[in-house]
């Protein structure tokens, strides 16, 4: 049914294949902007880091700030909370990894590795999203006096480590730094 050109079958086939391949490249190229537009845009990325003044947070108090559309817990822990967390044997931890972006990926989930570090062990900064399915855990609640997620019953200790319930990982710690004694830069 097509116009057959018996004398030059190879040239014709080549033409069809070349056209088809160029068409495929064109389709892929045309599709890219439509996928590209789904990525976070420039204004979203520009808000990727925030500065938080923590000078007014006394021991035993917390603030929740919004960072990248999620809550971040900043808690000035009491000495007792720090001691409790330090006393937990590593073997009791469900997730033994620190989950701290300021630490090496495989760092152990010791209390020090979860906190803001030497001299600032009282500070803990965590993304307030349960690692199970993303609900916001309640502070100073649950079986371990840390955080408790009401959605599916995950219990975190005072260092934000998962101890009981369906959540697979410790609460994540974002990239952050104290740019001065009173200002934390998150992101």
């Amino acid at each position: 049914m097509s116009a057959t050109d018996h004398s030059e079958p190879t040239r014709r086939d080549f033409l069809y294949v070349a056209t088809g391949m160029a068409g495929a490249v064109g389709v892929a190229g045309a599709a890219w902007p439509f996928i590209d537009q789904l990525r976070p845009d420039a204004s979203t990325l520009a808000l990727a880091s925030i500065d938080v003044d923590v000078s007014s947070i006394e021991s035993g108090m917390s603030v929740t700030v919004k960072w990248r559309g999620k809550p971040v817990f900043i808690r000035n822990r009491t000495d007792k909370e720090v001691e409790d967390a330090k006393a937990v044997p590593m073997a009791d931890l469900k997730d033994p990894v620190a989950r701290n972006e300021n630490q090496p990926a495989e760092a152990d989930a010791t209390d020090l590795a979860r906190s803001a570090g030497e001299g600032k062990e009282n500070w803990i900064v965590m993304v307030g999203s349960c690692t199970h399915l993303g609900c916001v855990p309640l502070g100073q609640a649950g079986d371990f006096g840390g955080w408790f997620c009401p959605c599916h019953g995950s219990h975190y200790d005072t260092a934000g480590r998962i101890r009981k319930g369906p959540a697979p990982q410790n609460l994540h710690i974002p990239h952050y730094a104290f740019t001065s004694d009173t200002v934390v830069k998150i992101g």
Binding site: A3, D5, L15, A18, T19, A42, S43
Partner: protein
């Protein structure tokens, strides 16, 4: 197909002749009736811009100078509420320099924990703020004419080109009507003719798009702004540089657009050629 093409060609000729004649006639009509004069009185003159044409790119040095003119002259009245400081990285500034520029502006933010609005230095995600708290304040401080925002001014002020020029513009890719207009306006203040009654608080400028009396006083003088390079400090250069900067502010992705366009055009032309050859092979044996 031939008859259609012939018809189209004839149509084009008739139209060109007819419309040109009609326009002349209509123009005469305007004068005869002494109807509403058409502004601007002086049409913008096409200037040379580095960003014109299919391979146009912004001149970074010019944009930096234009930013300086904007900040030291225009920004006293004109905001750029759609242009964030972070986008200045496209002008060749690094992150620290952008932070410094942003911090020189005061941003009203809030409410804070006690419910009050407060002022803070700008950060890169902020936009060029207005020096006035709201449009009403801007208008009352400027004889009732609020200074327009500058984010899109280079695309929002284009003088109609008329037939047949606009047809040629398709082929010359003329898209610099905005900067041409801004340059003409800033360098276009002159003495009002004796017959023209200038209202107090206005300034005669035949390049102004909405009349001949312009409420903005001449904003630029020679040697007013220090350039970091050795470009002569003249009103002409200030006007040219700030017009280029405003084009960038209005169309920040112009370079990406033209670069992508070149690849797309090459592809479409080559691919059309391939499809044409395929089509010819398929139709080769069929008389049609």
């Amino acid at each position: 197909m031939h008859s259609i093409l012939k018809g189209l060609a004839a149509l084009g000729l008739v139209l060109a002749a007819g419309a040109a004649g009609a326009q002349e006639h209509a123009a005469e009509g305007d004068h005869a009736e002494g109807g509403t004069p058409h502004y601007p009185l002086v049409a913008p003159v096409e200037q040379d811009w580095s960003f014109a044409g299919p391979f146009g790119t912004y001149d970074i040095g010019q944009l930096q100078r234009g930013l300086k003119v904007y900040r030291e002259s225009c920004a006293a009245c004109h905001s750029m509420r759609l242009v964030p400081f972070r986008s200045l990285e496209a002008l060749g500034y690094n992150e620290a320099q952008v932070r410094t520029i942003a911090a020189e502006y005061t941003i009203v933010d809030g409410p804070n924990a006690s419910g009050d609005m407060f002022e803070r230095p700008g950060v890169p995600s902020d936009r060029f703020p207005s020096p006035f708290p709201n449009a009403e304040a801007a208008a009352s401080a400027n004889n009732g004419a609020a200074p327009p925002d500058f984010s899109l001014i280079a695309k929002a002020r284009t003088v109609t080109r008329g037939f047949p020029t606009f047809v040629f513009d398709i082929f010359t890719q003329y898209a610099e009507g905005g900067p041409d207009y801004i340059y003409g306006l800033l360098t276009g203040y002159t003495e009002a003719p004796a017959s023209f009654e200038l209202q107090p608080g206005t300034h005669y400028n035949p390049h102004f798009i909405n009349g001949a009396a312009f409420s903005m006083p001449p904003p630029l003088q020679n040697d007013q702004i220090e350039y970091d390079d050795d470009t002569p400090r003249t009103v002409d250069n200030y006007a040219r540089d700030v017009a280029a900067f405003l084009m960038w502010a209005a169309e920040p992705h112009l370079e990406a657009r033209k670069k992508t366009g070149f690849v797309v055009m090459i592809f479409l032309v080559l691919f059309s050629g391939l499809v044409y050859l395929t089509k010819r092979k398929i139709w080769g044996a069929v008389a049609h």
